[in-house]
Symmetry: C2
């Protein structure tokens, strides 16, 4: 075992993760979650091994069957010999703790498979919130050699939608009889879908929902070039339609690669990650930096002696000076 010491070194953990050791992967993601001071080192070691996983976002309102669909997708990918990771950042997901028994039993099956790793993640304690924690967790999955990583988020919060939207392929799940029009029209959800998954397609109202989605797709001009979002019907609990779904996911990947959009979209994702991390770093410097300067400026604002913009400029100048002073090669 690579993880022998009680206080494992980043290099050992990364080597362990690269060799597919679940414990090493788990510990690395915990380091992300806890915003470990050694994350910098970890990320530096992981970087050369990233960029291979196909990241699939999976979003939709609570109750549409995201986790059931994820479970069915895992089975389909495993049947093809593909290694699958799941990152659940959905507080309502059974993966994250709110499981009903049936879901847990189904998941259990995969939990014993060493080529599947399912991980839920909380954003608490992370200065940049999900917008920095989720991409870093994806880096761990990616470097650990998972071919496909499903990111499950509930399509409610802004940051959750953002995470799903920066995936290589984004699936938006809907189900009949859940306030369809509202589901479809929901701000931001339509624009990010590469594949619409109409789950629970054995229920009444599925025709109407599909028609509504197709109408919306026709209305919204997509900037993404060649790809028109497709609509797939599934009954995830019976693993029905999952083959079609995997086919559409593959088709989307192929089309994106062909048009050059694949790399372009990954650039957008990297850019969002970079921006979020840089902002978190600025906040960290606010908290750890020259507190006196900050308090003095705030007092000046309170007392009407300085306006907020001038105060912000002065604060940032302090920060710049400090960062120029402290920065150098190898600094953490």
């Amino acid at each position: 075992m690579g993880v022998a010491r009680t206080e494992a070194e980043p290099a050992d953990l990364v080597a362990g993760a690269r060799a597919g050791k679940v414990r090493a992967i788990a510990r690395l993601i915990s380091m992300v979650e806890n915003n470990s001071p050694r994350l910098r080192e970890v990320m530096r070691l992981l970087a050369p091994y990233t960029g291979h996983a196909h990241v699939i976002g999976l979003t939709g309102s609570p109750g549409v069957g995201k986790s059931t669909t994820a479970t069915a997708l895992i089975a389909a990918y495993r049947a093809r010999g593909v290694r699958v990771g799941v990152l659940a950042v959905d507080p309502s997901s059974p993966f994250t703790g709110g499981a009903v028994l049936g879901d847990r039993v189904r998941m259990q099956h995969h939990a014993l498979d060493e080529h599947v790793y399912i991980r839920s993640m909380a954003s608490r304690g992370h200065l940049g919130g999900l917008s920095t924690a989720a991409p870093q967790a994806l880096r761990v999955f990616d470097a650990a050699g998972f071919d496909v990583v499903l990111v499950e988020t509930v399509g409610v919060g802004q940051s959750e939608v953002e995470i799903a939207s920066t995936a290589d392929t984004t699936l938006v799940l809907l189900a009949p009889g859940m306030g369809d029009g509202i589901q479809v029209a929901k701000a931001g959800i339509l624009e990010i879908a590469d594949v619409f998954v109409v789950n629970k397609a054995d229920r009444d109202g599925v025709q109407n929902l599909v028609r509504e989605i197709r109408g919306m797709i026709g209305l919204v001009r997509r900037v993404e070039g060649d790809w028109t979002p497709s609509v797939v019907r599934t009954v995830a609990s019976a693993e029905s339609g999952i083959g079609d779904l995997v086919e559409q996911i593959d088709a989307h990947r192929d089309a994106q690669c062909l048009s050059g959009r694949w790399e372009q979209r990954r650039l957008v994702r990297s850019r969002a990650e970079l921006e979020a991390l840089a902002l978190a770093e600025v906040r960290r410097r606010f908290l750890t930096g020259d507190r006196r300067a900050m308090v003095d400026l705030a007092a000046g604002m309170r007392d009407g002696e300085i306006d907020p913009y001038s105060a912000a400029d002065q604060l940032l100048a302090t920060l710049s000076a400090a960062s120029l002073r402290h920065e150098g090669p190898g600094v953490r």
Copy 2:
């Protein structure tokens, strides 16, 4: 009229607002809402006139009667000759558009009163969101000479709770029969309350709710020194209990001033405003700054050539260098 030109100058608008002209106040707040490029100038002109208004936060779940209570408070303050501003950042508030007819009729009465200004605000389009827009709108109210400014927020989103919590006095509204235990225990709500307002106190269950609140107050040790949160019963729709409420608000102010907490809390508010604005400024510089550097770094991240932390450091260094180059006195 001070507002003669079609393209009003910030100096004229500020002079107009200081003279109590509603149109000037309205335009200044619109500038905040639209993140006008001349906001810097506006805020510089306003700064010397700020720090006088008593900012009262008003928060609670939808349906507890926040707007009705605000309306009743306006009447009570007007009867004392106090000028009152209302800033509604609650999307469910009748002030922001979701009005039932009765509320509008009641509000209309005040709308004709030149010493009352009611304004709803959206956070869309503002880079820093509500956390920068709301304090700036408060600055406008404050400089325009309103003695009391009510900030109505729905106690749901994190930023809404934050806004309410940075008020000079924070009122948390509850009503019987709305899932009381949950209301009271709701994360963050209890800690921020200076005065609990039990509205709809003519309904069943009011005794239980009050008992529950008092129990909670006993449990939570407050850091705020002398002030123990009080509980006031109101039937805002009948303007009943509003006198007691105003009395408690005054008592809170007096106690805070005496203990020195008043200025301390305003420092916390200024600090939050400063931090939010500085972060928004960093984001603005990301968007308007050296795009080439950012794209190159993001591409390097995508291609595994650089880790995200090193990329963030390099981006911030670019930013610092640029800000040092461009900054100087009088720069906007």
